[in-house]
Subunit: 736 residues, 2 copies
């Protein structure tokens, strides 16, 4: 990497100083004249019929300016929207109408002069419910007699012709012939796994402010991963013209997939439309737990046929995704099948509705869950066959860049083949991956009269992507990182940028940025060639200068060139770069963990986490390491502590950070070692691949396998909480 | 113009609704947490030595946080600026040091928690002055013995070898040989003219707010005609890196040339640097009069040699520009020489310092003054020779597009050759012009998924230029005007745009915008060709659709194309357009006015104003007419009422809108008729030319000539106030 001057350096993040000095402005920090505050009336039942809503007492609270119910919405929405709304229809399910389907569901929206008044009024809205039985586990929900979430939905036929209830969508796939594959196998393993729902637990709760002007133009300030995604979402949900909505992305305090819009933004817009005042909605932590969009739970039955030597012949997955009242999780099912040569593969996957909030994306959506099943089972097979799990994988891994190397790096760094462990300690290893897909993106780059560079686009930065993109531009243009200022636009001003999710933006926006920088560089060289009276081919550049190859004394600074450009045919030096779809170019991840299990309390301590990630090209190694550490920490806590729990009536019982545990620094392994491998992507900017998702994809299996190594007990349900582990150990002792 | 769909239509201005509903946000409307207010200590003398400044009493006012004098600036500036300031030197003349040179000059700057505290403290700063004699008239200032504004400046030699004092710069030019020209002339006319200083009297006083962040990055919100000009100005004045300054242009309430920065912005930045708090400075009307940058006064001696038939042979101008303590007015001197074939031309022009504030630009800077002399003299010559002034001009006008036609149009519309007038009434006619120059500019255009269009650039809109540019884009792209949203960036986000002045922006930004729209259109057609499986050449487009020429049923909407682009190699549809220098392509203006003179009071009533302007192409005829009416109104009031007056001590005596008269609706001619002529510019977008400046360039001469027609008296000094006219009439009666 000696060839690079800016890429590969751990420069300070563009947002570091603003964040550590408290200067960064979050949505909740904003206030506007005449602003009102929104609060929701929420269902105290997971499942109930609404008989009657009485807002009369609530209206008496001083300062209340709006109380919106679904009935009023259906009736009055067309009146508050000035333009022809093709889609007053669209607003038909923004609030619970005749039925609530999960605990905490929105029943009414109150707007008032103060947050206190809004909350008080919300508490005074009288709703008469007729409670119904609820179901929160997809394994129960598919059964005959289970409460029906969507009344008019017919049961579907399962793989064996059985009836499956509450299924909202399904996916079936077969390559080769698994029946034949299993017939050809020497051994067949079949296991069941269950992964509980977890919440993204971003630091900053959901927040949005909306205002509507005299022309009906809407502005939304919000905490989001993607301003263009929020815009589309509002336009679609509220039947409004896209061009009348401007979305301003504020500093975001974490998202992990849960901030693409739809949770608070459209309600802020509704309040603004009804009252013609700026309206602010900021969730409490409890509301985030009860009514945001957590990761789906997953039940998997997985069957794998192998040859005597461990060669995989066939794999079959039966999956039930717990999607609550939402959907959109099916697509990840196939992730178990990507890393290994598997002649025969099949899956039957179902999304099952439960009386829980709609699920959403969470870092590598669905991958941790499905790979937990696939990778844990591989380790179990290795154990049963007496083959080392690394050897088993090497035998089966596809021959693609970085697949074996990440695994071998982790084996080497963890001293896997001579690994040491004490009493009650164990090691586990697993692999993960990500598809590394791309999205359309556009970036503008301007070179100013002092040679400084401004980048303008609509990227929302959660993880340091502004920094990485700035480094790509600095490298391409031949300037210092410090010369580049990154400026974020809103949807009115910025060209399209994809939402920051799915590890796509350094790849996609980075590519657009590189192309914009190249466009600007072409102009710089053209002006310099004219000024120096040579051909562009005779020029070299770097350090904000251009010089004649054979006569370096003849040179011009970028500042001089930018000023000369103004007087030339070129005009201001501005580069434009766009990017669109490129084929997926997967990157592999491997992780080994060492755990200690307290036999008495069931507590699991993860002592070491050794991981290797193919980053394609480490644009900023410090940020790559940070991403990797963050993702593995989340996977370890999912494996050991995080879980959204419900009581028998379907009410979430731990909607707060006291009862819903996330790791503190004390829960992070004392030894964490990250190796960054560089197998450059054919399509990524300077070979970079998306790196945010992969680090979360292997930890569940690695931890559970390490626990098995320590306890000789394979737990099939995560998180492996102390209670669950003790119970499993006790059950195994009595031979259950 | 039937070929156009959007151009040539009088669409509603983009800023109309915000302005008429009071929603538009001006700089003074903004407040920031911890913001402080700035107030100045100003000189009560036009010329004095400063012996001592005592701030001790001022510091005792509660809420005062900064009192900055020049002494402190020189001492401490390097301390408050974090980076290496090459130019602490630069701040050496931001406040009066040992001397004040005009009445109202800034002596100290106070910052306080409230404006009241800042003003009170400013009033308590004790300054001991030693008054010096002052001079405010350039005719006096050049004389030996006049007070010297810049002590160390040596006198220069005038055209006849005489010594000229207080000259700060000079310009000399000769084409042909005027001596020979005068020798060949049948008649020689020589006249003296004097034009008094006027103020731009924009509605919104000068205003700026500055803040500095932890990284030393400066943001300035300001009322300006050009955000990039303000940025350069701050960087240069304060020795700061350009890249650390971001300028946000707020809605502007008029500028007319006076808002390119330097008056309040750098002082707001100083306060912010010294206090690390946001700092706001808003001028009172009095401060605007005393310490902004009005139009220069001008003394002209003009000598013209003609043949018996009126053919111009030679012209010579001796000009003294009254630049106060500023400069920058010389260049306009040659404007008198552009319209007419003149074999021999010469000028000697001087900028003369006086004890008045530095002058600046005011609509067609310098042209009204110099053309007043040139055009009034032509009318006088016509009168002396008994040639009709229109005939005299037709004989001499250059054969360039629009020159004769504007004149003939005015002659026709005013029924010039059979014009009617009553008692004490008179007609005057004159011509003006503007150079129609260009500036570098860049514009981005994005086509969004609903087919709507966003324009992004750094243009400041004073006169409807956003509207005109939007029309150019709509026309070029084949969308409706309503589909285009214009978004203004700040200097960090937007590509370079020139300041809105000199009638350059519709021309320059319009060209860049057209080119950006063409870039976007190319992408639209490429995607459509791919989708429809035809060649680009086989396509036609309009009304937000593309169709196959021979099979119009096969078509795609721009919305469909924009979405398809996202999935194609093109990516998001974004167009980039840049523009730079093109040769000047002058446009002519002609104006005839009819006046009535009250012989007793000396009051002049302008009854009719008939004007014709070559606009090249009327992008928006209503805006073109508005510009023309506005410019002529200003010229009429300059001719009859506007004047900055000083007493003998050099103190401005009418720094308010009661004593400094600007026209009310009652002062506007009851008949105003505008003809727009279209002689397309070779270089302008769709042939458009800059139109803001020309309408002010002819009115002074037209009015004074009409007064002469009514009174048989040629007044050589404007404004022709009632006092001045009565005095002239009385003097003429006694034969003075």
């Amino acid at each position: 990497m000696g060839e690079f001057k800016v890429i590969g350096k751990g420069v300070v993040r563009t947002d570091a100083i603003d964040k550590v000095t408290g200067r960064a402005i979050y949505t909740a920090d904003l206030t506007f004249p005449r602003m009102i505050y929104g609060a929701f009336v929420r269902s105290p039942y997971a499942h109930a019929r609404i008989k009657r809503i009485d807002t009369s007492k609530a209206w008496k609270v001083p300062g209340v300016v709006a109380i919106i119910t679904q009935e009023q919405l259906s009736k009055d929405y067309a009146l508050v929207v000035e333009e022809e709304v093709h889609a007053a229809e669209r607003v038909r399910r923004l609030l619970a109408g005749d039925k609530v389907r999960y605990y905490g569901e929105k029943v009414a929206l109150v707007g008032a002069e103060t947050l206190e008044a809004a909350k008080e009024a919300a508490s005074l809205v009288e709703v008469e419910y007729e409670p119904l039985p609820a179901v929160t586990d997809p394994r129960e929900a598919i059964k005959e007699g289970a409460p029906l979430i969507w009344e008019d939905r017919e049961p579907v036929r399962g793989p064996n012709g059985e009836l499956l209830y509450n299924v909202v969508s399904e996916s079936h796939h077969e390559e080769g012939n698994v029946e034949q594959g299993f017939a050809e196998s020497d051994y067949i393993f079949e296991d069941e796994f269950y992964v509980h729902r977890v919440h993204q637990t971003y630091l900053e709760p959901q927040a949005a402010i909306a205002s509507v002007d005299e022309k009906g133009r809407i502005t939304v300030w919000t905490s989001t991963q993607g301003i263009f995604a929020v815009r589309s979402n509002i336009a679609r949900s509220l039947g409004l013209p896209l061009s009348h909505i401007n979305v301003v992305g504020m500093t975001i305090g974490g998202g992990f997939g849960a901030k693409f819009g739809g949770i608070v933004d459209i309600y802020a817009v509704l309040l603004a439309l009804f009252t013609r005042r700026p309206a602010k909605i900021v969730y409490s932590r409890e509301e985030d737990f009860l009514d945001a969009s957590p990761a789906p739970g997953l039940y998997v039955r997985i069957k794998t046929g192998v040859k005597r030597d461990g060669t995989i012949v066939a794999r079959y997955v039966y999956a039930l995704w717990d999607v609550g009242v939402g959907g959109g999780s099916l697509w990840a099912t196939g992730a178990f099948a990507r890393l290994y040569k598997t002649p025969h593969i099949k899956w039957d996957a179902y999304e099952v509705a439960t009386n829980t909030p709609p699920v959403g994306a969470y870092r590598a959506p669905g991958y941790p869950q499905i790979l937990f099943a696939g990778e844990t089972q591989l380790n179990k097979i290795a154990s049963e066959l007496g083959i080392d799990p690394v050897e088993l994988r090497l035998k089966n891994l596809k021959d693609e860049p970085g697949f074996k190397e990440t695994l071998l790096t982790v084996a080497e760094k963890s001293n896997w083949f001579n690994r040491e462990k004490g009493e009650n300690e164990g090691w586990g290893i697993a692999m993960g991956w990500w598809q590394n897909a791309s999205s359309p993106a556009a970036v503008f780059v301007s070179v100013h009269e002092d040679g400084s560079v401004k980048v303008f686009c609509g990227l929302m930065d959660l993880t340091g992507t502004e920094t990485a993109v700035s480094q790509i531009i600095a490298e391409t243009l031949g300037v210092r990182y410090e010369d580049v200022t990154f400026v974020r636009g809103d949807t009115d001003s910025a060209p399209f940028a994809p939402p920051s999710g799915g590890s796509t933006v350094t790849f996609s926006v980075g590519n657009a940025a590189k192309s914009a920088a190249e466009d600007a560089l072409r102009q710089i060289l053209e002006v310099a060639a004219n000024q120096l009276e040579v051909k562009v081919e005779d020029l070299e550049w770097g350090d904000k200068r251009v010089w004649v190859k054979d006569d370096p004394e003849r040179s011009l600074s970028y500042a001089e060139i930018a000023r000369a450009a103004m007087r030339s045919e070129i005009g201001p030096i501005v580069g434009k770069g766009t990017f669109s779809a490129k084929p997926s170019d997967p990157n592999a991840f491997a992780q080994a963990v060492k755990v200690r299990v307290d036999e008495e309390t069931g507590e699991i301590t993860v002592l070491e986490s050794i991981q290797a990630l193919d980053v394609g090209r480490a644009i900023n190694p410090i940020l790559c390491e940070g991403q990797t550490e963050g993702g593995t920490t989340q996977s370890i806590s999912w494996a050991t502590m995080e879980e959204m729990k419900h009581d028998e009536q379907g009410r979430m019982i731990n909607p707060n950070l006291a009862d819903y545990q996330i790791p503190t620094i004390a829960d992070v392994p004392s030894k964490v070692q990250v190796s960054l491998l560089e197998f450059p992507s054919k399509h990524g900017p300077y070979g970079a691949k998306g790196i945010g998702e992969p680090p979360i994809t292997a930890g569940l299996a690695a931890v559970v396998s390490a626990v098995a190594d320590a306890t000789k007990l394979w737990v099939h349900e995560v998180p492996v909480t102390p209670e669950r582990l003790i119970l499993a150990m006790e059950q195994s002792k009595v031979g259950v």
